[in-house]
Amino acid sequence: MESSLFFGLSTMAYILAMVVYITYIGFRKKAIGVSATGLTVFGFAAQTLAILLRWKEFYQMSGLGLLRSIPLTNLYESLVFFVWCLILGYLIVEFRYKNRSFGAFVTPVAALALLFISLSGMSTQIEPLVPALQSNWLLAHVTLSFISYSAFALSFSTGLMYLVVTTKRGEGAYMFWTVTLGVFGAVLLAMVIDFIRFKGAGLAPGSEAFIKNFLFKSTYKNGETSVRLLSYLATILIVFVTWRYGGALKKIIEGFKLQPATLDEITYKSVAIGFPIFTLGSLIFGAIWANQAWGVYWSWDPKETWSLITWFIYAFYLHARFLRGWRGHKISMVAVMGFVAVIFTYLGVNLLLSGLHSYGSQ
């Protein structure tokens, strides 16, 4: 698999770019900034090539036709595509707004996602497609969904940064972002622990068997009451630390020298781009595909319902902004919540709800 070579290269390039972007914020030397951008562009090119190669491999292996073979069929491939869209979105923002500092925020997300893939031992195998997934509507559905997710991810990070730089301890909005970030971090940590501990089991994270047998079994769902208790305490501790030392993060982000107004504008722009794409790609194309495959365009299954909830939150964002004139903290919190719903639609429904519904899990 030659594609894995280029995936490796792009992961390394993004990690290096992250370091260089952060250095750039420290020194503000043009040359450093240019090399950070160069690394990102290089990583992006390598990743593009890797995706194309994988596409080719899949095409040759499955014998399904070119469009049907687009590598977007499992958790691994979708995470890679998500990172690709995110970096593309970031590069566009960098060239449009002529500001590099934001890269110090985005490249770590990309690097973390890719590292998460390799750490978790997630299956990177090319898997054959079950018949229901062999549809061009599905292709359009998944591609556009991920593009919109990336736009929403961008609005999430700018919305969050807006909150970080404009709030102080004691304010409700400060509480909101520290708790969100803290819980986020704690859950991610718990998942990484599971993945590392049960790596040997050879199951793909996100696969039903993995969710049923291992997810959160090292922490929140451990057999020992004491471990469970400890996990919840640790979560509270992480949230507390985020709350107590949120000011440090504020200092860092203030170093980016981004105007809150610019952040707010990027948040809105990303939502305004993500919303129509999400509507078309996720809701409409998803419905058409479901109708082709099963004869129901809408069945209120948890995944559909969560995308509807996500859609409502962003519709709320737009109406609150335009009709009630919401600005500042309030509207940024809505943007952050919107992306939390996106993550839940994408991962939580599979990881948490199906775990709850699977038989014999306790």
């Binding site: 054959p128 497609l129 079950v130 018949p131 229901a132 062999q134 549809s135 305004a272 781009i273 919303f275 129509p276 509507t279 078309l280 409409i284 419905a287 058409i288 109708n291 082709q292 495959a293 099963w294 004869g295 129901v296 365009y297 809408w298 209120w300 948890p302 319902t305 969560w306 509807l308 909830i309 409502f312 939150i313 519709a315 709320f316 109406h319 609150a320 009709l323 009630r324 429904v349 709800l353 709850l356 519904h357 038989y359 306790q362």
Partner: protein, 523 residues
Amino acid sequence: MASKSNSISDKVWSFFSSIKLAIAIFALIGLTSIVGTVIEQQASYETNIRVLYHLVGRGLAPSAYRVLDALGFMNMYRSWWFLSLLVLFAVNLLVCSIDRFPAIWRIMHAPIKPLGAEKMMKMPIKAEFRLHVAPAAVESTALAGMKSAGFKAARHEEGDGAVELYAQKHAWSRAGVYLTHLSILIILAGAVAGILFGFKAMLNLPEGYSTNVVFSRSADLSDQEENSIRASLMGALDSAGGDIARAAQAANEDPAAFKKSMEQAGLIPLDFQVSCQQFQVQYYGQTDMPKAYRSLLTVIDHGKPVVSKWVEVNHPLKYKGVMFYQSSYGLVDDLSNGIAVLSVKPPDGQQAETERLKIGQSFQIPGTQETVRLAEFNPALAFDDSGKPITYSQMMTNPAVRVEITDGKGPGVSKWIAQRYPETWRLPDGSTVGLQDFWGVQYTGLQVRKDPGVWIVYLGCITLALGLVVAFFMSHKKIWIRIEPEQKRKGTRLMIAATSNKNRPAFERAVEKLALELEKGGK
């Protein structure tokens, strides 16, 4: 509409047109939907009590279940209160749009007027400069510039020789939002049409069978009642050869009443027969992962076959508004009626022939003395450690038949022939007997749907997409250019003003570009 009178109807109107109500409904639909994704919908008691064990503990789970059940959360998307929320949402959207639309309509149709210097300088986008060129020349460049930017300019001349050029475009884009809202109503209307005039059913149809009845869930019967009523109705129907009128007659009932009792038991009669000729699965390589599966369905209308089609996942069959979707498959309980389809090739390389036979039957390989008897069928053949044949799955994943071959003299040979493994087809004497199919033991699982509302829903989806594109990517733009002659310096005072209801920065850049051109032209 905007009047401040306080009559009841005005109050009702303003309640339903309020954004606050919209926000409350958004929140209510969202929050209750979350509950609906946690509680598995239309599931068994055991399933959801287990979910509740996880969430509230064993002690509280039964009472939590009772409360949620009483509130309708076990089938919440069909509960009266959730449907009421959706209706409220639709009414809110409709009233809100009607409330605002007249004002928007006026804005869309208001002709643009000259502004005058003073008002121009109060516009969001504006510029002013002086040029050493005669006003007439400036005017013609300005006109060309406006034209290339897509504006059709009108001209107004004042007494003192000042000229104002002004134009607007995409005024209609203000309706985009309303198109978006309207589409949501269209989609909801399509959904309602589907519920009222359509049905959702399923059908497990074995190879070689045909039927004119499909099965849906009956709303108010218990499983037991449903089964017994269904059994008696299906029995009556079968003895009447599938003819509803005759079955009704035999039961001394009116055909309409008979149909009605069928529907109450979740039996939906079709106006035609559908039969499954054949069902096939294709696997990825030698694995048991299906790559594709399909059924050959034939529709028989008024006794005549009218359509035959291979139905696959993502490729349904449609007849008279009823759709048949491939959704699952399986083995029937009784495997003894299957027919093995064998291709037989004698050792001398002559043309292969096809033999069809049941268990226990035999045939002679042409041109030889060998008799082949079909002894046994195994849908998923495997061998255990001691070499004994076993059936390793509930599906026909590795169909195989055991044949006994004798030449009438010595003791016979017994041999397994597997469909997926051609190397097992070779007989000791060099002839080959391949298992092409074991027909009649698989059923195809079909979802059967009739949804006359789906085209309305699709129409709504198209207008929704269009509406969003217009709402987000187009804007109502206005521009004014004022050209005043300056007598003293033989030049021109040029003013530009512009506004757009959305995406102002982009329009601002376009106007700057125009201004730059005019300035250059003036030097």
